[in-house]
Subunit: 300 residues, 2 copies
Amino acid sequence: MRDLTTTSVTEAVLTQMGQTPDPRLKQVMGSLVRHLHDFARDVNLTPDEWLQAIGFLTQVGQTCTPTRQEFILLSDILGISALVNLLHDKTAVEIGTESSLLGPFYQQDAPALALGDSIAAHSAGPELLVYGQVTDKSGKPLAHASVQVWQTDADGAYDVQKFDGTQMDMRGNFACDADGRFHFRTLRPLGYSIPLDGPVGTLVRAQGRHGCRPAHIHFLIGAEGYRELVTALYLGDDKYVDSDTVFGVSTPLVITPRDVDPDAPVKGLPSVRYDFRLGIAAGGETGRVGADPAQILAKV
Amino acid sequence: MRDLTTTSVTEAVLTQMGQTPDPRLKQVMGSLVRHLHDFARDVNLTPDEWLQAIGFLTQVGQTCTPTRQEFILLSDILGISALVNLLHDKTAVEIGTESSLLGPFYQQDAPALALGDSIAAHSAGPELLVYGQVTDKSGKPLAHASVQVWQTDADGAYDVQKFDGTQMDMRGNFACDADGRFHFRTLRPLGYSIPLDGPVGTLVRAQGRHGCRPAHIHFLIGAEGYRELVTALYLGDDKYVDSDTVFGVSTPLVITPRDVDPDAPVKGLPSVRYDFRLGIAAGGETGRVGADPAQILAKV
């Protein structure tokens, strides 16, 4: 392992990692080293650029807090979260409703609410009713399915951004009824710029990107024996619905609230009906592309 | 930018980054996205693994301090630092002495010492004399060339590890004489394990690697009009000289101290003579693969 060249150094690294006991770790790290070395050779990465990358990654790590996950944000804007999500979907035995990104603003321990409650605890704005049914792929209702919801307020801010983690808002956990039905009140979310005050924002600006996400409502839906669904519904009249900076939108997830809906369980509010179908996970398929930032930091 | 697949998501990201004003940033980030997406597809990266990577990178960032640079350490053990160093060498108009890694323990503002001084201010152990001459490639002496030196103590620890940044030791800046000659006293360095108490150490252990570097002395050598030389001399009898965990050794940099050397400027000590040749940098070629951790953090 001496007198290495710009090509042989890669083999030297792979040789030294060749005794990795866990075969999957060996495979993943081997592939990562090959691709990262190819990248450095392809662009002829300079010491100045390498040092800029070291400083950038250090800053990304030091920006993470129990309420902010800058590395997830970085993964999101590079399309890596969307890609891993799509790869994950391919492993399912049966796919349900289209998935989307969990994003960096998910929080565990959101309040349990009763059907019909509003998730707006500390915010005001134009109200919206969301209702629907959770079923399997064939349309069979899934009794008491769990529906977690979170979104921005009417100004486009998440609670963790407004209150710095001191209180939750615009979040709730619901249990569907025996027919798999749910309904809740919320505020019409506003699209927003991802946080631009950190290193990821600096990168996004340097790339000439608008850095915006279209208005959306996040959902995490589960029922015993079915594949957990991480998704979101996107408002179709948002100007960024076709240029989401984190690549989360798909056509079946685009919604348009109706001003009058005779089927709505609550009258007098604009409403959205959306029925979610849960798929079937393959054996051993676990995990989701995202986590509560506090949980990630707790392991550090 | 809707209804993306595991392949089309890459093009969507490149399209969104397509307006990057700086052509080099566009090129580097475009290549990085392609290679990272290829990596995720090649190994079919799972959500659990992705989340483990997010947690790992967060921890690497949060381990960085003004005296510790865990991201440089990560780059080092993946061979990326060695590769960028080798790519950098290729840009030189004229190559001098072989280069090696700056590593994560370089500190700016090491004390200026007089020729013949010892760099051991707060440590004891078997002494060593190091002397030589700094020349251009043809052997022409470079008067008053600067020679920065740093190394572990005789127990294999750097000052920043022993004293946590409160005092410097085993470092010095020397100015050569009018003939480009230098000599200084030091302790015989000991090989060492890279820091294993952080996330990078956890990875290295999980890879079944010894995590050790052979004993060495770092040098940073400069003279007006010549290419800065970042290198190190490695003790040939170290058991890890052929399996350096950061891929820094090359044959011409391996030394063997002599117990008796009639040419040594100081008698009665084991000594090493090494003459360094400085090359010529191409116009615009700047930077080095490394930096003082405090300088990196200061930009955060």
